[in-house]
Subunit: 212 residues, 2 copies
DNA sequence: ATAACTTTTACATGATGATGTAGTGCTTTA
DNA sequence: TAAAGCACTACATCATCATGTAAAAGTTAT
């Protein structure tokens, strides 16, 4: 069973686009069903050409590749998108990944790598160079106790966790087998340490700073 | 300039551990400075053997690999850790990545792949099979409006955002140029839609489901 | 245009939360 | 051992929140 993959490419550099397509033509599994110097009308493009996968440049005149990516994913999440770009800064990588890109390759990648990446993505994998992967991972490696966990005691951490889970003072007290006043005591100290003055604030801070 | 890499391995399967080490011995750049069938005393191990990188199994008798990973990273974030395991479920991958693993490989990876991964990590990259990478990426591809944004109206979204920012009803009312009762009205509806009964709960849900 | 719905406002009330003061008991440290 | 610090408890008070009912005002649809 031969499964061919139909791809389109949006890339404003004519030389790069054409030579990449020319290379990929060599591979019988990869079928180019469209090559465009922009992503202007991306939704029309994908409805018309029905690609399995889109190779998308970021920096293009008119609509940029990340906005195009968002439109595609909103329109049909089943369409895979690999970003193909010269930018490898945190912001672009983060934006692209969060918006649903299945891969992020630099343009200086070899065409062989790009071909292999397309196939990996079609097999349910993600395509990234190791350095990009590292950047991606760093996004959710908790900088948690970056400020030293705010020095919360065990009980305070426990109370905070239960607070984040939406429990009332009364319920927290029950869970911890203490009296409500004890819970108040701990919560006051939590507020002081987190520099907040209400439960919603504390919860937001706890989650965002990954204290819990 | 030859830069040798010193690694240790924690892996309870003797055959696997020994054959992997034997293979890696072939590579003059990779120096095994310790091989252990457990991670029991991991902090002592790393202080004694000073590895650049640790290959860590997850399922081991005594201390599991993820806990060991956490200890290592807390002790010295400069030590790279590659998880080497048979588990590729969401939870383990997520835990490992969040705890600072620089790589996550399956044990059925070829030893050549493992050797290459060690070198990639030492060059500042991350080591993951494409499928693992895909799982990792999915963690922060916003499932945002997975349940249809909970159908919050514009005002409700606005109120929710301000609530998450820690504002009181009074402050929210002022910001939105409405009376406090209006804020109450919206908040009640938000609670109904989110199936919660308090501000902390709403805030937690909003942040976790990326509604804001 | 009228019914149906949404948004805004008002009023009321019981529950919960935020904060302060203070006393007891236990552990740590000088 | 005395001082200091932390955890727990108690009591008090005012503010804020959660919820309900209800009535204008504005919108949408038939």
């Amino acid at each position: 069973m031969v499964s061919n993959t139909c791809y389109i490419i949006c890339e404003d550099n004519n030389d790069y686009r054409e030579s990449l397509v020319a290379f990929l033509e060599e591979d019988p599994e990869l079928i180019c069903c469209g090559a465009f110097p922009h992503a202007q009308d991306i939704l029309n493009i994908v409805t018309t050409h029905q690609p399995d996968i889109v190779l998308m440049d970021i920096d293009m005149p008119g609509k940029n590749g990340i906005d195009a990516l968002k439109e595609i994913k909103q329109f049909n999440p089943a369409i895979e998108v690999i970003m193909l770009t010269i930018f490898e800064d945190r912001e672009n990588v983060f934006e692209a990944i969060c918006s649903g890109a299945s891969g992020y390759l630099l343009k200086n990648s070899s065409p062989e790598t790009i071909a292999a990446s397309i196939k990996e993505v079609m097999k349910g994998g993600a395509a990234m160079t190791p350095v990009i992967a590292r950047k991606a991972l760093q996004f959710f490696q908790k900088p948690s106790k970056k400020e030293g966990t705010f020095q919360l005691t065990i009980q305070e951490q426990q109370v905070l966790k239960l607070l984040v889970d939406g429990l009332s003072y009364k319920m927290i007290a029950a869970k911890m087998n203490v009296v409500m006043d004890t819970v108040r005591y701990h919560i006051k100290k939590i507020y002081d340490k987190l520099h907040v003055h209400s439960a919603p604030e504390a919860v937001a801070k706890a989650i965002r700073d990954r204290l819990i």
